[in-house]
């Protein structure tokens, strides 16, 4: 165990910050750090908060974090902002909204940029959550702009996902297309004092009724829906005996005035209870670890193969050969993978 890990476990803030930096940079040694930290995790509640830019995520997270702190719980927040695809630089501004927790060290707030080049942002987020969990945070909030697969992956690191919808964005199609309806466990119509909030709530409710599975399992297709907890659960165990389904509540908040924050926390707590009651928390954890193992395997195998390709003189001469019609992509892949297959076959005996 390195000094850094020991310092983190001992509760040193700068060590936690440095570990997250190493995770972000994929610095040498970060894998060992995560390995060492893993056994100290599993106690935190992880909450994902997503929604379009300007929906009020940061402001709501600030109030939520402050309320948790009042209850005596420690909080970690990871806020992910986009970075420029051109310079790689970014201005990470979510911190500006964290006014309610100013100077409070037990409220650990960290901005992360979606650095395109490193890929695997969801992996980095998962690892950062591991660090916060091992540090001993009671509640961990992951906040991200809700657009695209990347975000959906990130948000899956959470036990409970809250989706923020600003009023007036309520064009039915707009809400449906992001695929965001499927991942939400709790929906929040923030800025509920604005015109159109009622209409947005109404539309959301209609759409969610269309989504949620009905308990009567005789209905055609209903069993699939019931098992579909915002996630592709096709590879998980049979869960038919759990007849209870979760109907995502819609909460109205005015985050900047702190209105509705208690309701939101209640909704989060209810979902947490539901996860425990139905045993889904464990199921989710299993799925998450399975997904993480798959992702890491893919990344590492990929790296291995890139090295192998380079050793064989890079991909270019294969491309040349394919263009000249001397060979084809499938044959190339078979050729590159042949030694690996042989090696595995030998080991198996």
């Amino acid at each position: 165990m390195s000094d850094l890990v020991a310092d983190l476990l001992a509760g040193k803030h700068s060590a936690l910050a440095r570990v997250i930096t190493k995770i972000e940079n994929r610095s040498p040694g970060y894998r060992e750090i995560i390995s060492d930290l893993h056994q100290h995790t599993g106690t935190a509640d992880v909450i994902g908060v997503t929604g379009s830019p300007g929906a009020g995520k940061s402001t709501l997270v600030d109030k939520v974090a402050a309320t948790y702190r009042e209850q005596g719980q420690t909080v970690g927040v990871i806020a992910i902002d986009p970075s420029s695809p051109f310079s790689g630089g970014a201005v990470l501004g979510d911190r500006i909204r964290m006014a309610s927790n100013a100077g409070d060290m037990d409220m650990f707030f960290r901005s992360m940029s979606a650095r395109g080049s490193l890929g695997g942002l969801s992996t980095a987020t998962t690892d950062a959550v591991t660090a916060l969990d091992a540090f001993g945070k009671d509640k961990i909030i992951v906040e991200t702009v809700g657009a695209g697969q990347n975000e959906v992956d990130i948000v899956r690191t959470a036990d409970t996902v809250a989706v923020l919808v600003p009023p007036g964005s309520g064009d039915d199609v707009q809400m449906l297309k992001a695929g965001i309806l499927e991942i939400g466990d709790v929906f929040v119509v923030n800025k509920a004092d604005l015109d159109g909030a009622d209409r947005t709530v109404q539309q959301l409710r209609e759409m969610l009724q269309g989504r949620s599975g009905r308990p009567d399992s005789g209905h055609h297709g209903a069993t699939e829906l019931a098992g579909d907890h915002g996630d592709a659960s096709d590879d998980s165990d049979e869960e038919d005996d759990e007849s209870e389904t979760w109907n995502p509540p819609i909460v109205e908040t005015v985050a900047n005035r702190g209105e509705g924050v208690e309701d939101f926390l209640d909704a989060l707590a209810n979902h947490g209870d539901y996860l425990d009651r139905t045993g889904r928390r464990e199921g989710q954890a299993r799925e998450r670890f399975a997904a993480e193992i798959r992702t890491l395997l893919r990344e590492d195998a990929n790296e291995l193969l890139v090295d192998e390709l380079n050793r064989r003189g890079g991909i270019e001469h294969y491309v040349d050969a394919v263009i000249e019609r001397h060979t084809d992509p499938y044959t190339v892949v078979d050729e590159v993978l042949a030694p690996l297959r042989e090696c595995l076959d030998e080991r198996r005996d």
Binding site: A17, T21, P28, S83, A90, V91, I96, A102, F109
Partner: protein, 140 residues
């Protein structure tokens, strides 16, 4: 922290902080944008931060550069508080501390003695600052 060889061009993180009652952040915005365009990750604090908050941000965000913008003339009170806070959380040694604003020569010497690495006054160019950061960003 142990040996870090073959560290490829890591992303430098900078905090741009406005401390105290000074409400002029036009310059801080311009600087934040210039640093972003130079490929840095910039965490902007927002206006009217207390020294505590700047320390909290600098520690938690694990920035390489702490940029403190003060135009109110209160640098002699505010900067030492920030430096003390950073030392308290063991986040002083491997960080570049920069001050921007109007700082009289006598005060400059004093701030440098306390641990400020560089002071950029009126007329300092963006290139100057970015080059300085590239050259002096701490090894980690």
């Amino acid at each position: 922290m142990s040996v870090e060889q073959e560290q490829t061009e890591r992303t430098i993180r900078c905090l741009v902080a406005k401390v105290g009652l000074d409400g002029h952040d036009r310059g801080a915005h311009v600087i934040a944008r210039a640093l972003r365009d130079a490929g840095f990750e910039v965490i902007y604090s927002g206006l009217h931060r207390a020294p505590d908050e700047v320390v909290q941000a600098a520690v938690q965000e694990d920035v390489d550069v702490v940029g403190i913008s003060i135009l109110s003339g209160a640098h002699n009170t505010l900067v030492p508080k920030i430096l003390d806070g950073l030392k308290e959380y063991d986040a002083f040694d491997d960080r570049l501390i920069l001050v921007g604003g109007i700082v009289p020569d006598d005060d400059q010497d004093e701030l440098r003695d306390l641990g400020v690495d560089e002071i950029f006054g009126p007329g300092a160019s963006m290139e100057e600052m970015i080059d300085y950061i590239h050259e002096n960003a701490p090894e980690r």
